[in-house]
Symmetry: C2
Subunit: 358 residues, 2 copies
Amino acid sequence: MEQGLDERKRKILKAIIQTYLETGEPVGSRTIAKYTDLNLSSATIRNEMSDLTEMGYIAQPHTSAGRIPSDKGYRYYVDEMMAEKNAQLARKDLALAEKDSQLDEARELIIEKTDKMEKMLQQVARLLAKDTNYASLITAPRYNSGRIKFIQLSRLHSLQLLAVVVAEGNRIKNEIIDLDEPMTDDTIFKLNFLLNTYLNGLEASEINLGLIAQLKEQAGVHSEVIANVLNAVGNLIQVEDEPKIYTSGATNIFKYPELSDSQKASEFIATFEEKQQLADLLKETMADEENTGIQVYIGDETPIQTMKDCSVVTATYELGDGIRGTIGIVGPKRMDYEHVVDSLKTLKDQLDDMFKKA
Amino acid sequence: MEQGLDERKRKILKAIIQTYLETGEPVGSRTIAKYTDLNLSSATIRNEMSDLTEMGYIAQPHTSAGRIPSDKGYRYYVDEMMAEKNAQLARKDLALAEKDSQLDEARELIIEKTDKMEKMLQQVARLLAKDTNYASLITAPRYNSGRIKFIQLSRLHSLQLLAVVVAEGNRIKNEIIDLDEPMTDDTIFKLNFLLNTYLNGLEASEINLGLIAQLKEQAGVHSEVIANVLNAVGNLIQVEDEPKIYTSGATNIFKYPELSDSQKASEFIATFEEKQQLADLLKETMADEENTGIQVYIGDETPIQTMKDCSVVTATYELGDGIRGTIGIVGPKRMDYEHVVDSLKTLKDQLDDMFKKA
DNA sequence: GTTAGCACTCAAAAAGATGGAGTGCTAACA
DNA sequence: TGTTAGCACTCCATCTTTTTGAGTGCTAAC
């Protein structure tokens, strides 16, 4: 027992799952008897279903109902699908690259219209949600190298300085500094020199208390200003810890009755609203990298409590140098895994390209 | 008929509404008979209720049910309340300034912890939602004066310039400009001079095609760079058109059964998720300014279709010079108007103060 | 090993029964 | 004339019962 599934059982299991994905209702033996090409009577199917139930691949909501896939069943189905996809990919069977016109069109729109990363990501999230009818989330690429590239103080008014800090990856931070008394051009020049010689090329982690003390000492009377600049530097780095997450389509869950009772829906949507918890999910994704870069979490496998009744599919896109971001889809366990995986793959590739160009 | 309400009717109406606000269930004549201090039998109350129904202040969900307030009834109640609040305020009856400890504590937390406007506003929204148990929204102040204060080009790398544009209100925009070929320090200096002499002190609207042409001509070979800087300027202004809206607590509606059926909840939350439509609401608010700066929209009065079954309370905070932002609460029609109005008032005052200091 | 047949189960839908909160109206009362 | 007690009536909400039908598990025959 439990020595794997023979050909027939696999076919039946697959048929059950696919039917369930479509209808969302428990599927009975007669349905399968008609559905499948192997010509078997419902009675035979029943016997096999009984076995599959015992093995834990499917379950009965109650005695006299049809069967629904268990988490183990889904897992089997998804693994099969992924394996097949990889095989196809290996032999360059690019029938898989069937265009998703909606997402394709997206690409152009996005590149054209949005000059700002923020808007672009929001747009992508929206599109993905619309395309799949599930909830989507996406993070901006996480820059893990915070090396400082450029620092500059300029005079705004007699009592106001503007500090600009640029880090690698062209992330920019501004800080306005109010002075107690005017400062000469010369002083500003000196401070600029000081800041650049000390900080330029450093990573965030390399700025320690000793260094700060040195800097302040050098600055003498103007150590206040230094403190403010360092503050800006600090902010630039802090953003790292909580990468921004863009979401869309959380309300799509109302399309799936098994998720839309008040209690569940409320928790689910709150999770999306707060976004905080989503970070955990994505952290996990980032951690273990797979061949395709696509991960599927089914039911309890997700790290987030409130999504126990859902499945989560994520993909990691790269800019190279280990700078990565994540796209994800959250939907009911009976989601259209194939479509979701394809969509994410397409999008991941597009993002990879896009960033490579930019 | 319809010549206003006598004292007794007013008392009864108020009692009905208040009871309904608490319970959320239709209220019957006996309840009122016990509740109120004017000693009347339920029969008498019934007669009065019948009148009030005819006048349109209250309604019956069905023949043999109690009464619930109609929009007109709510309107009456809110108007009364606001009038009283204003009266209190006029004679400096500051018992009204009863502290809301939660919001008070907020103030300090906020000022302490958040250096970034964005985070602060998000925090405020979250707090307000938590305090009231309704959904909250808040916009960043909308700067309507876009006068340019400072422009600077700096070299980042040999083929990269950094443009910094600062507008009044200390809004800052950065733009990185890629060059085709290196640029001498001297050229950068000249371009800086050029940009500042032409653009400094101008409002967005004053930058027209003629001016741009002049600038580009002056810049000669480097007109590309000018175009990029103007792009940054453009962005600085564009942000105006769609002020960022921060929201929180959309899922609070699930606490109110009359709003939490799938259909309604879905639409409601989607509105909050997209935020786009909320802008309309806030635009409206900004338009007509009242004495207290607090507005209440009941049911159909709201400009947003999906909120027909809700009430919306908004407040406008000011930085002076007509620079304003909005805070708002969306909840069921039977919301605790008094508490909401007080909370918004408190918050509005705090924001006014805070920005005055900053 | 497969299948037809049949008794049995159980959830969901439909139909019926009960109770109670609340009204509107009438007639009596101060 | 305004107020009140009394009563018949309405209608929703709740609970119970009935019906229906999809689906199973088992047995016996092929």
